[in-house]
């Protein structure tokens, strides 16, 4: 993945609006943002990718989880301007054409969601785990999913979905 802006020198940006380039779901997107714009707001307000949800905006709920180079992070705690050299994956980029990602399909099959507001974050948190560890045990699953609150309480079904993907019966 090529990056349009250089990684070799200091870059200074004024407080007003500036142009940045983000690689989102494999596409380079050019945006005009203030330095204070978070990745979450850039995705939602500028790119209209509203799958990442603002549940708290303070890194205390997990609903805004996206992947940066495959690693699950809270997009509400990242500045968009600082994410120009990483591959950003949002829930909108997980399915390919009509083919859902196996994590998404497992969430559907196991009913691992209720209201669905936290679901994009949950799916991506689990995706990040499985990228690192394709066969996690229950402890690893619970630890990986501990940063995503689900107020409806879909946790038992999320665990079942994760177990099925880890190659184990639930």
């Amino acid at each position: 993945m090529s990056s349009p802006s250089s990684n070799a020198a200091s870059v200074s940006t004024s407080a007003s609006t500036t142009t940045i380039h983000l690689t989102v779901n494999g596409r380079t997107r050019t945006l005009s943002v203030e330095p204070r714009r978070t990745l979450l707001d850039a995705l939602r307000e500028d790119l209209h990718l509203t799958g990442a949800k603002p549940g708290c905006n303070m890194g205390q709920c997990g609903a805004c989880t996206v992947l940066l180079d495959g690693e699950a992070v809270y997009s509400c705690l990242a500045l968009a301007i600082e994410c120009q050299h990483q591959a950003i994956t949002t829930i909108e980029g997980l399915a390919h054409d009509d083919q859902l990602d196996p994590v998404q399909q497992a969430f559907i099959d196991h009913d691992a969601l209720q209201c669905g507001f936290c679901t994009p974050g949950q799916v991506l948190a689990l995706k990040s785990l499985l990228l690192r560890d394709p066969h996690p045990d229950d402890d690893a699953i619970e630890r990986a999913m501990a940063g995503n609150l689900c107020r409806c309480g879909a946790y038992p079904k999320i665990l079942a979905a994760a177990r099925s993907l880890a190659g184990r019966a639930s």
């Binding site: 200091s10 940006t13 407080a15 500036t18 203030e34 330095p35 890194g59 990242a78 500045l79 630890r143």
Partner: protein, 332 residues
Amino acid sequence: MRPFEHLTVQAADEAIQALAGGDGGNTRLIAGGTDLLPLLKDGLVNPGRLIDIKPARALRHLTFDADGSLRIGALTTLAEIERSSQLAERLPLLRQSVVDAATPQLRAMATVGGNLLQRSRCWYFRGPFDCWLKGGTVCYMRDGENKYAAIFDQGPCRSAHPSDLAPALVALDATVSISGPAGSRTTPVAEFLAPPTNDERVEYRLRPDEMVTEIRIPAEAIAGHGVYLKAMDRRAWAFALVGAAAQVTILDGKVARARLVFSAVANVPWRATAAEALLVGQTLTPDLAAQAADAAIAGASPLAHNGYKVPLARELARRAILAAANLWTETN
């Protein structure tokens, strides 16, 4: 969050140059941002300029040197500590201290340097109160809702230090390397983290034109074995009610070196030196661990709602000491 200018640097020296403007703290470094962004959003800090130091890759490493000591770059993430198989094998205390810290997402973003510079979690500090730590005159915690407060009195402020990693670093005699316009200096983590004073209402000692670059852990500390135990009021994603880091070296059946350091009982990680002294030179037994645990909480002065922390700290200390020596079982 007010608007701010943004600068990206590639190396520590560039950051030092950028900080050298001497703008009285109007410039802040940003690394993982997991504490700084909430502070910005709440308006608790309002810098005019941020310097992103994340691209400074030279500050992101875990290196065991030939002499057996460990160097950790300030930009190393907590996740990298958690996932290091070398650390899991050679320094389980360090790894344990981070696995129950925050969440996977936060550990993937948060850095070791930032962890040492995180601000108080006291809800009077974070909330709309003109508390002493923010420049006011009153510590509201002292006579208020203080179930999470410090049980050791270190001055005007009663906030409890939230870091899980920092007590482990203190227990490992870690030092912190700091760069500034005048060069570099090294100071023990135990001194770097210091209770806020009237003149410096902050929990660390770092000048506005300085930055943390590295943590070093000496070989003799690594030679021992240790654990970190953390009590929380839910089973994940909570700051410690009390945390206990113990690192013990046993030679010829006797304790040669012992460190016992608490989180969340004082303004900064609290080293229980009296407990350590009881252990050194002795054969570690359950009775001795219990005596040391009693000594560890001597001098505690709990407030109206945090009295439970005293028996909790004692119990975690007892278990941590025993577990560090592989003597802890479910029936203890």
